[in-house]
């Protein structure tokens, strides 16, 4: 049994009057990939954004319960340095959101934020991150080029590299491939396999095949609750929950 890096205990989330998450309990072990599946609006992304407190940016969003992350304790407790938390819990978004600056500046934005300013220190970090994200070969000659001129798939990998550049322990991915073509998707899935060695990844996906291909564990969400949570192979071969089975086999949702 590996130790848990994230423990979610009785988390409730409201958007105004809308009760979006109802008492979620979940734990994630180190260096595994956990996939969240379920129909839209069921709370997958909301839970994902609880793990690095991105929900703070949304007006009228209230979270109750505990999210314990190794090295931080309860991240909704007092005295938490949110910026440091987000440094350790990186995030990749649904749409590639490279900043309108050069590739180098995009990757260096995070390290610079955390105090690394010298170019000779930044160079190896940028190179290393781009290599990890599997895009170094494609962009190494024009790091000065605007990141916006890249294709969607490349942009998403830049975003992954940018997230890796601050050396997080956990990587949250919110439907990272939903706006990409199949080839870019395949590249990013391979990437996840490689990243698993050093990082814990939580990924939201609408793509069942993707979940089976890359994840170790899967959680099935419906209407703000986790109806089934277990090994991916078990969930997809022998789901216990009836609704989960229907969803997986495409008969509803």
């Amino acid at each position: 049994m590996k130790e848990n890096i994230i423990e979610i205990k009785d988390v409730q989330l409201h958007y105004g009057n809308h009760h979006a998450l109802k008492s979620i309990n979940l734990s994630v072990s180190k260096c595994e990939i956990l996939a969240f599946i379920g129909p839209s609006g069921c709370g997958k992304s909301s839970l994902l954004r609880c793990i690095n407190r991105m929900n703070d940016l949304i007006d009228g969003c209230r979270v109750r319960g505990k999210v314990v992350i190794e090295g931080f304790g309860d991240i909704y407790g007092k005295g938490i340095d949110i910026n440091n938390l987000r440094k350790n819990v990186g995030m990749v978004f649904q749409k590639p959101n490279v900043f309108p600056m050069s590739i180098f500046d995009n990757i260096a934005f995070g390290p610079r934020t955390h105090g690394i300013k010298k170019k000779k220190d930044l160079d190896p970090i940028v190179e290393d991150s781009l290599k990890k994200a599997g895009i170094w070969q494609e962009v190494k000659d024009d790091l000065k080029k605007s990141a916006i001129s890249l294709s969607g798939g490349q942009q998403q990998r830049i975003c992954i590299a940018r997230a890796l550049a601050v050396q997080p322990k956990i990587l949250l991915m919110d439907e990272p491939t939903s706006s990409l073509d199949p080839i870019s998707t395949a590249i990013i899935e391979d990437l996840c396999e490689n990243l698993k060695i050093n990082y814990t990844i939580v990924i939201v996906t609408h793509n069942m095949q993707q979940a089976t291909r890359i994840s170790d564990k899967t959680a099935f969400f419906l209407n703000g609750e986790i109806l089934e949570f277990g090994e991916t192979t078990q969930i997809f071969s022998n789901p216990k929950n009836e609704k989960c089975e229907k969803y997986i086999t495409g008969r509803f949702g």
């Binding site: 129909p39 991105m54 940016l57 440094k87 959101n97 934005f109 934020t113 997230a163």
Partner: protein
Amino acid sequence: MMTVKLKDGIAKYFLLCSAAFSIVALLAIALFLFSRGIPAMAEIGLFKFLFGTVWHNNPGATNQSYGVLPMILGSIYVTALATMIGLTIGIFIAVFIFKFCPKKIRGILEQLINLLGGIPSVVFGLFGILVVVPALRQISPTFVGEGILAASLILSIMILPTIVTISLNSLKAVPRNFYEGALALGATKEQSVFKVVLPAAKSGVYTAVVLSIGRAIGETMAVIMVIGGSPQIPTSWLQSIDTLTALIARNSGEASGLAFEALIACGVVLFVFTILLNVFLMTVKIKRTNQSYKLTLKRHNERQAQKLIDHTSFLHLRVALLYKRTKFFIKYPFVKLGQFFVWLVVVCKLNVICRQLSELLDKNWRAESRQKAWYAFLKVSSFFAAFLGVLALVGLILFILIRGTPYVSWHFVFGKYTLDNPTLTPAIVGTLILVGIALCISIPIGVGSAIFLSEYARKAKGVKYIRLAIDSLAAIPSIVYGLFGFIFFVGLFGWSYSLLAGGVTLAIMTLPTVIRITEESLLTVPHIYREGSVALGASKVRTTFKVVLPCASVGIASALIQTVGRVISESAVLILTIGLMVNIVPDGVMSPGTSLALNIYYFGNFGSSDQAAATCVVLLIVVLLLNLVLSFVGKRLGRNNFKY
């Protein structure tokens, strides 16, 4: 990390201060006007002041009397007439450009109207002196030419671009399917435009009306040059009268004692009137929504759309459409939100419109042919109005160019000023100093306020007061700013007549423009950039200044250019604050001076119409260049790679 928190705190404090500056400025203006205007009204007697019909303030005269009713009526008459003429022509022009105009010249016309919106009002005034007044003199031998009709005509030409631009934008915001829906019911092109599209664009037209009333009533320089200036109750269209603004501008320099206090009281009347107008406008126009509301709306729509996708299949298409619409919000928040509301309203009313239309078409053929004749008439009117409006505006420019160009020479622009050979050197140096002072103050404070409003203020409680203050500052006529500058900077601060006093006053006046343009461009920065930065552990202040603000740099640049344009065009403020010293090159910010626009007034009013026209040419060239730069920057904005 304490330092990050400290930095965050300091930044927020600074931004809050700059946003609060608008409130402070508004309160200061109100305070200084009221604290001197109200006692003056009391001394004269409120009733005697507001309803007295005799204004007599010749220095030394014994029977001084301060009845302001003639000026109030004058302002109202001129404004009403100008708005009526401008509105009728303006809406027809908008309709013409919108539907009847050949595609080839549509772009040119729109550009032209935009360009004409930037012409300094003093140029219109000069046109009035040189063309309109002499022409009106031909009407009857007893008529002096200056007066209500001349002022109204000039003002109506002046407000035309505003009316056309706003009406056109709201016409464009009407969804295409209304027009097509009407056509599909068998309505003609004209019927569809005038019966369906134009009514759907009503709210934009209201806005245009109120804005142009505000502009007309607050206008000073164009009016002062053609109004005549006799403080008497208007009884005929051709009579020489006076307006509140012109009265203040003409008399403030020399008046002292109660006479000056009475002028401040006039300023109070103007101030109160424009604030009321502004409040009225706010109730009429679609409420300005801040970002948080828009985001919740977007999220709400997305959630609704998702729900529908989840639970129904037959609504699929419509949901996709709705979803697509919500996507647009991120791209052009203001325009699209407006569109969405109009769309919503009209979808609700569509069945009513359809029924009316079909009833309309069911009537017997005689009624039908009468209808057709009426709409054909409307169509011809729109052609005619467009012709007339464009003729007036282009004619004005051409006339000034033809009249002034022969007198423009290297010596006239940059030579040494002598009594026989007046040059523009003092004015150019003065204008540059004014622009410098105004930019140094209004850009930092304006950008700071805009950042506060769009990035920080979502949860703050006082935001609506800040917005109210900014909207009110935007509505105050420039002559009232001039009065304030005169009392506050020239008098109270002891700066006397100086470029500094004028520049600071102009900075306050241009602040709302800077804030609005910057905030709009900050709002177009996609939210996911902020999220991306925050998710990397960047603090709020770093996210704002390193990611969001660079994305809005084009907007800030255009705010800067527009501020320069307004400072260059403005003269009513300067007439009361910088001393109109046309003959000596200013040697510093504390020196009195003049500006290009002010020189036009000076030359125009004192008989040197050749020099005035030549100065106009120089000023127009500067304005044109600024517009070119602006459209270049705008194109950069269009090319900006926000793909969301």
